[in-house]
């Protein structure tokens, strides 16, 4: 068998630990035993492969993909970014799926109880594939803040959920993108579960070059997945 291109370890100085007590649901849902080291075999270094047939062009425009009788309410935004690995290599054909609350902070979900209006023209779900440069682009509505029961007067900062499939099983990432300058961020135990020096990477940047005149504001959010362990020398070297 040809030599497999292994990945660098998951960077636990960047990712949140399973247990973060201020985020109350982690207390009974956090593995406590030491994780068992797993060799990176074919099972881990392969993963689902996506192509053009898997997404429709309208899937990435959340202002149009659920229209029933008009335009969704709220501030129209464009979210762009690249999916790359931590060697800086772009990842083409990565499936990016997103979901979010509407402008009023309401999710279209059967268990949602927040007393805020649904928008008949907005579901808040979208998907796209990255292009050859690893770039993705969504048009959507800026989500509202969202109250939740974690603690007294708890509000989630406005966020968009992202689910990303990279090249293989181990690059799988689910994360959330936040907006710059949100005063709720320092109060949010989910955001604060991430080691302090890495938190900034969850905040999108306002991108004037993406903003379209008299149409929509632009935000940029790059997603970085685990890269390859091998340097060019090592990959030629055997063992």
């Amino acid at each position: 068998m040809t030599r497999l291109d292994r990945l660098k370890p998951l960077d636990w100085t960047v990712h949140p630990p399973y247990l973060h007590e201020p985020y109350r649901s982690t207390v009974s849902r956090s593995p406590r035993q030491r994780l068992v080291p797993l060799p990176q075999t074919l099972s881990e270094l392969t993963g689902p492969v996506y192509g053009d047939g898997d997404v429709e062009p309208l899937d990435s425009d959340l202002t149009r993909n659920a229209v029933r009788n008009g335009e969704p309410i709220g501030e129209r935004i464009i979210v762009v970014g690249r999916v790359l690995d931590d060697d800086g290599r772009p990842i083409p054909n990565a499936l990016v799926e997103i979901w979010q609350a509407n402008a009023a902070g309401r999710y279209i979900h059967k268990n949602e109880v927040h007393d805020a209006p649904l928008d008949p023209n907005f579901t808040g779900a979208g998907r796209c594939l990255t292009n050859a440069q690893g770039e993705y682009r969504f048009v959507t509505i800026r989500p509202g803040a969202y109250p939740w029961g974690n603690h007294d007067n708890a509000w989630r900062p406005a966020h968009i959920h992202l689910s990303i499939f990279g090249r293989n099983f181990l690059q799988r990432l689910v994360t959330q993108m936040y907006f710059p300058g949100d005063p709720l961020l320092p109060l949010d135990p989910i955001y604060n579960g991430v080691p302090e020096e890495a938190r900034q990477r969850l905040i999108s940047q306002y991108a004037h070059d993406v903003t379209e005149p008299a149409w929509a504001l632009g935000f940029r959010f790059d997603v970085v997945l685990r890269g390859s362990q091998a340097t060019p020398f090592e990959s030629e070297g055997g063992s």
Binding site: R3, L4, D11, H15, R29, T46, W99, G124, R172, V174
Partner: protein, 191 residues
């Protein structure tokens, strides 16, 4: 060099985007191999079912081949089996997949891994996913599997091995609960 983007929880409201229905059926009538049902519950540290988890699986076809360029045998992969599935748990914390029993998967040094399914678990209350594996109780190859062998405690090994039951329609049913925390905590991996 850029650094990895931190993970964040999948939260409670993913299903309207991630689960349209049918993602937990990996086969159609053309797929080759033994058809099986894989099912179980996802449980928390108090033994309570988790009704808002997402379980994803990734597996080889019936010959142990992955439909992916990293597998040198990928051209021989079953064209009617993609190997990826996704199941949102129901009110009882239950997940299920209709799939085929995977074949053994080779390692680089010429050993064989026993047939297994790779599993990723996401849920509200999990800031990052947990990864584990499902093995099959009726496989003698389990005794020689290098990953199972790396788990010293035989009781912990058992947390990865699904028991086989015959269902009414004659399809083999493999059952395994995934326990996030506590006395019977599933073995989770760092790869």
């Amino acid at each position: 060099m850029p650094r990895q983007t931190p993970s964040q929880t999948i939260g409670p409201f993913f299903s309207f985007s991630l689960v349209a229905g049918g993602e937990n059926v990996l086969i159609d009538e053309r797929s080759s191999g033994e058809r099986i049902l894989v099912e179980g519950r996802v449980l928390d540290g108090a033994g309570e079912p988790i009704a808002d988890a997402l379980v994803e699986i990734w597996q080889a076809d019936s010959n142990g081949i992955f439909k992916h360029l990293a597998d040198p045998r990928h051209e021989d992969a079953d064209p009617f089996f993609a190997g990826f599935g996704r199941s949102a748990t129901d009110e009882d914390g239950r997940y299920w997949f209709r799939t085929i029993k995977p074949g053994p998967v080779p390692t680089e040094d010429g050993q064989q891994q026993a047939p297994h399914i790779n599993v990723t678990v996401f849920a509200r209350g999990m800031p990052i996913q947990a990864i584990t594996r499902i093995y099959f109780a009726d496989e003698t190859a389990n005794e020689r599997d290098p990953v199972l062998a790396s788990i010293a405690d035989p009781q912990r090994q058992q947390t990865l091995i699904a028991r086989r039951e015959q269902s009414a329609d004659g399809i083999a049913r493999y059952c395994l609960d995934i326990v996030l925390q506590g006395e019977h905590e599933t073995v989770f991996f760092d790869a």
